[in-house]
């Protein structure tokens, strides 16, 4: 009596970025693994777009201790120390896996993996493949996946998790025609990535809609630190449709200068010691302030200038930047770029143990959808390492879980079908709702926050989530599910931002006065779930 096809497996992986594919490869060692993705595997998500690099301690002069401290300091001491410890220890091992599987990272003249300096780190430990590190990793991982025994379901959109009592026993998905498929699994891994597409200006691919946060929350999992959104300081500003496109940190690493419309190197006012190479949250706030105070460009950005660099340096070190800007009519060898902050990464997410278990039995999480690794601000280069370290761990521990009885709750499936029917009978254009959501989040839950704006935004978001959005055909059902997920993720961000009444890392509350620094904050994680929300209190000085 259940609609559609039923698939049964040992491990179900939802999401096909760096973390999901790594998890599936690992899980397949232990039993039948199914990887489900709403895109073509290797094409969707943000891993393949990543340019910066992969942090790993590879040299004798470096140490995991230093990497650990850099990460904690960058994270404003909100990170889970145990997760950070694992990240820095296992990043080199996972890099070894990639190399074994054929990854083509840049090498030094002495045939070692090359590493470069990156934001907030005291040792140059960022491994890179030109300026396409993420693409290199995905290409390697997808090739490895092809030789594994993982079953692939591509262009299937997961719309909710299946539960049996408190346990997660799989997921329910729509195929590309809009037909329902039930996916039963002994363990389910959420590796759905981030969600900053809920903001008007974002670096993310079109997949970055936060579905995993919403799906996990609806199933009853606990999420932490959902207010922690990283705004990358430099996104493109022009033309209109290219707003938010990532302009890599490497531009500043090569000597790019940030200038306001008076020609001043304004970082002097915000971080005179590190200037353009301050951490992302500081630079993003600096640029936003310059723009707000009327010292921005006509197009609403600031200048990022590399015209003082030699043509050769630009052509060899920043070829992708040169190419992308040329396509949009700006020769960066002759003219400065215009840049402005752009929503980039969500540090928060599902609360996980070191084995990537969430608070729900049967549900694991890894990659950007999981919280706790990066605390209140992520270091550049740690995200790619995160996907590999925790992707592998989620796959391993999910794989090692025993079989469970997977009795599908027919009432739950019926509720899903009813929801889908309501889309078919809806009246509001989902694209219109999505655009309103993005604008309102950018205005009210952006870099600088206060209770009044957050409350107003939350109210609007809640209204938008009740809109009767319409699916024109069965094939449009997935879009409607995604818009609903975006609304839910947005509300989690707003609620968590209201709960944290302090400024910490990337989260700034202008309406809150505080006298302590991050290391002495009385607060731990914010947490939010169907049954409770709040903020952890610490003893002073802990």
């Amino acid at each position: 009596m259940l609609a559609g096809e039923v698939i049964d497996c040992h491990v179900l992986v939802i999401g096909s970025g760096g973390a999901g594919v790594r998890a599936a490869i690992e899980a397949s060692k232990y039993g039948d693994t199914v990887l489900v993705s709403k895109t073509i595997i290797g094409k969707g998500g943000c891993t393949t777009m990543a340019e910066g690099g992969y942090n790993a301690v590879l040299r004798e002069q470096d140490s995991c201790g230093i990497h650990f401290e850099d990460t904690l300091k960058g994270g404003a001491y909100l990170n889970d120390p145990e997760l950070v410890h694992i990240l820095v220890k296992e990043a080199p091992l996972r890099m070894g896996d990639l190399i074994h599987w054929g990854a083509v990272f840049d090498f030094t003249d002495t045939d070692e993996i090359a590493q470069r300096p990156f934001g907030g780190q005291r040792f140059p430990r960022t491994c890179y493949a030109g300026d396409r590190t993420g693409h290199e990793m995905m290409t390697t991982l997808v090739e490895r996946l092809d030789s594994s025994k993982v079953s692939l379901l591509q262009e299937f959109t997961v719309i909710d998790l299946l539960k049996s009592g408190e346990s997660v026993i799989g997921a329910i998905a729509l195929d590309e025609r809009g037909d329902i498929v039930l996916l039963k699994a002994n363990s389910t891994i959420l590796a759905t990535g981030g969600g900053t597409k809920v903001y008007d200006i974002s670096t993310n691919s079109s997949s970055g809609t936060g579905d995993g946060f919403a799906i996990g929350y609806r199933a009853g999992a606990e999420l932490i630190d959902m207010e922690m959104i990283q705004f990358h300081p430099t996104g493109a500003v022009f033309p209109y449709d290219a707003r938010g496109r990532l302009v890599t940190e490497a531009v500043r690493g090569e000597g790019g200068l940030l200038l306001n419309n008076l020609g001043e190197r304004f970082m002097k006012q915000y971080d005179p010691e590190r200037m353009e190479l301050s951490t992302r949250d500081v630079v993003a706030r600096a640029i936003a302030t310059e723009i707000q105070d009327g010292r921005g460009t006509k197009n609403g950005g600031v200048y990022l200038d590399v015209t003082h660099l030699s043509r050769e340096q630009i052509e060899t070190r920043l070829p992708v930047m040169l190419e992308q800007f040329l396509k949009f009519g700006v020769d960066i060898r002759e003219k400065p770029m215009e840049v402005a902050p752009t929503a980039h990464h969500i540090m928060g997410g599902l609360r996980i143990t070191p084995e990537c278990r969430t608070t729900l039995p049967g549900l694991f999480a890894c990659g950007e959808v999981a919280g706790g690794v990066h605390g209140a601000n992520r270091l550049g280069g740690n995200a790619l390492a995160d996907t590999q370290v925790f992707g592998k761990r989620a796959g391993e521990f999910a794989g090692k879980t025993e079989k469970r009885v997977k009795k599908v709750n027919e009432e739950q499936v019926k509720q899903q079908l009813d929801l889908l029917d309501s889309f078919l009978a809806g009246s509001d254009n989902p694209a219109g709702i999505r655009k309103q959501l993005q604008k309102v989040m950018w205005q009210g839950a952006g870099i600088f926050r206060n209770a009044a704006d957050l409350n107003k935004t939350l109210e609007t978001v809640n209204n938008l989530s009740t809109a009767k959005i319409r699916a024109e055909t069965l094939r449009n059902l997935a879009d409607c599910s995604i818009v609903k997920n975006m609304c839910l993720t947005s509300s989690l961000i707003c609620r968590s931002a209201l709960i944290r009444k302090e400024s910490r890392g990337a989260h700034v509350r202008r309406d809150v006065k505080q006298t302590y620094d991050a290391q002495h904050s009385p607060f731990g994680h914010t947490y939010i779930s169907q049954i409770h929300d709040g903020i952890e209190q610490k003893g002073a000085g802990t």
């Binding site: 393949t48 777009m49 074994h100 449709d241 694209a431």
Partner: protein
């Protein structure tokens, strides 16, 4: 903001028997890409329009479509008014969404050896240009060989070469490539020109794999015969009739009237030995337009038949002989008439002289206007002229001075890359397709500027196939005839 009208090809497998075009008028922002036009249609007019997209910045390859017949990434291609947007030349699932998986599945994966043998820095640097591929399948969409053979295609070959260069891979990629159709590539270079990442598949993958195959003894026997002939005679075809150089029997040909320029003439095997009349016609046109022509006797085959088939053993000898022949005479500009020779001299040689195709020479110096001729012609772009040398407009400028021109799509005739000699059935199949395009466009005459194209297409169509110089000369003869009549009357 601005308003654009576009045509989009629609197909719903549940409702339509065939695809059809719909026209949409939408408002988009200044600087909008084709993708944003699709978004505008989907979000405000018709949410059933199906298309893929993900990164929006040219990095994932999801959004490849054809705009006015050419594959592009929708997210990077600026939107213009009145464009036609169609899916890639692959099996269509719905509207602009094509079935990528069958093709993606043919691309090989690295098979790690048990013991890890690390690559060196120089291995990495060789592999890197081949690694940029985002599997958008633009190259597959344009590959003519894939249409008529079981060739796995350009990006599959790119991957085989990438794997062949990597010590960590335990597969035998040269054997795989040969079995996957390595020798079916006509070296038309459509794949390279369609590639959003500008990966030089023909020279960095196909030719290099063929060179590796040669060292393993896999070169096609017919190709080996050609190499032996070049080694013995300096020419890639046998002499069956008086050659152009024998017929001209002079080293320097003075023009009629003052000398406006002097060029060395690199004749090439095909015009010298199979189509000498076309070369003689070219000499007449050059003479008429003040160009002095020097034809060094010692020139030999440019080596292209060897380079394209991976047989590099005595290539350096050929190159030296050819460069010396012109350099000894202090020639600073060498003119080619054969598109293949021209592309080879420009791209595979390091010459101390400038190399120009005859179309470039004639348009640079300008020609005496011929009389117009009363037929409708179409022009077949030789691959090694259009893509190998970037020459598209000059032949058309010349032709339009003599005849009316109708266009047809620029697709390989099928005779390049050693395919005519090595896999004649494939060359014939592609030649037949050109004949169909010629028929479709309604031209009376086919004009081209490459001996391989002229020779091969003539074998498949009943329309006359003429070299561009021949047509210009006919125009001059008509002009002289008219003037003669005037004088007489």
């Amino acid at each position: 903001m601005k308003t654009l009208t576009v045509r989009v090809r629609r197909f719903d497998p549940d409702k339509d028997k065939e695809s059809h075009y719909e026209t949409y008028t939408v408002k988009v922002n200044e600087g909008a890409r084709v993708l944003h036009v699709l978004h505008a249609i989907h979000d405000t007019m018709d949410s059933t329009l199906a298309y893929r997209h993900s990164c929006g910045s040219g990095q994932c390859g999801s959004c490849a479509v054809r705009v006015n017949g050419e594959p592009v990434l929708a997210c990077m291609e600026e939107a213009q008014n009145n464009i036609t947007i169609e899916p890639l030349n692959l099996s269509v699932k719905k509207d602009l969404v094509v079935d990528l998986l069958p093709t993606l599945e043919t691309i090989s994966s690295l098979k790690p050896s048990d013991a890890l043998k690390m690559p060196t820095r120089s291995d990495i640097d060789m592999i890197k240009p081949l690694r940029d591929c985002i599997e958008c399948l633009c190259c597959v969409s344009v590959c003519p060989a894939m249409d008529v053979t079981k060739f796995l295609g350009p990006t599959a070959m790119r991957q085989e070469m990438r794997l062949a260069l990597d010590p960590r891979d335990s597969g035998d990629r040269v054997v795989d490539a040969v079995n996957e159709g390595l020798f079916t590539c006509t070296s038309c270079q459509a794949c390279w020109k369609a590639c959003p990442k500008n990966i030089e598949i023909p020279s960095k993958a196909i030719e290099k794999l063929r060179a590796l195959a040669n060292r393993r003894g896999f070169t096609l026997p017919r190709h080996q015969e050609v190499a032996a002939l070049v080694k013995e005679t300096g020419r890639s075809v046998t002499r069956i009739e008086p050659t152009f150089m024998e017929l001209v029997n002079a080293e320097v040909i003075e023009p009629k009237g003052p000398v406006r320029a002097t060029v060395g003439f690199f004749v090439g095997c095909m015009y010298n030995m199979r189509l000498p009349t076309a070369a003689l016609d070219a000499i007449e046109v050059l003479k008429r337009n003040g160009i002095r022509v020097i034809i060094p006797k010692e020139q030999v085959c440019c080596g292209s038949p060897l380079i394209r088939t991976g047989q590099l053993a005595f290539l350096d000898t050929l190159k030296k002989r050819n460069i010396d022949a012109f350099q000894f005479r202090n020639i600073d500009t060498v003119m080619t008439m054969c598109a293949g020779c021209g592309s080879t001299l420009k791209n595979d040689y390091k010459t101390p002289f400038v190399v120009m195709d005859i179309n470039e020479v004639l348009t640079k110096y300008g020609i005496e206007p011929p009389a117009r001729l009363p037929f409708k012609a179409t022009y077949h772009d030789p691959c090694h002229l259009l893509r190998g040398q970037g020459i598209r407009e000059q032949p058309r400028q010349l032709i339009l001075q003599v005849v009316d021109l109708v266009e047809m799509p620029s697709i390989c005739c099928g005779s390049g890359g050693g395919v005519k000699s090595g896999i004649p059935d494939e060359a014939a199949a592609l030649g037949k397709r050109r004949a169909e395009e010629i028929k479709k466009c309604g031209a009376d005459v086919v004009i081209s500027s490459c001996p391989f194209c002229e020779f091969h297409i003539a074998g498949h169509t009943d329309k006359p196939v003429k070299n561009i110089a021949t047509v210009l000369l006919e125009g001059y003869m008509e002009k002289d005839r008219k003037k003669g009549n005037l004088i007489a009357s």
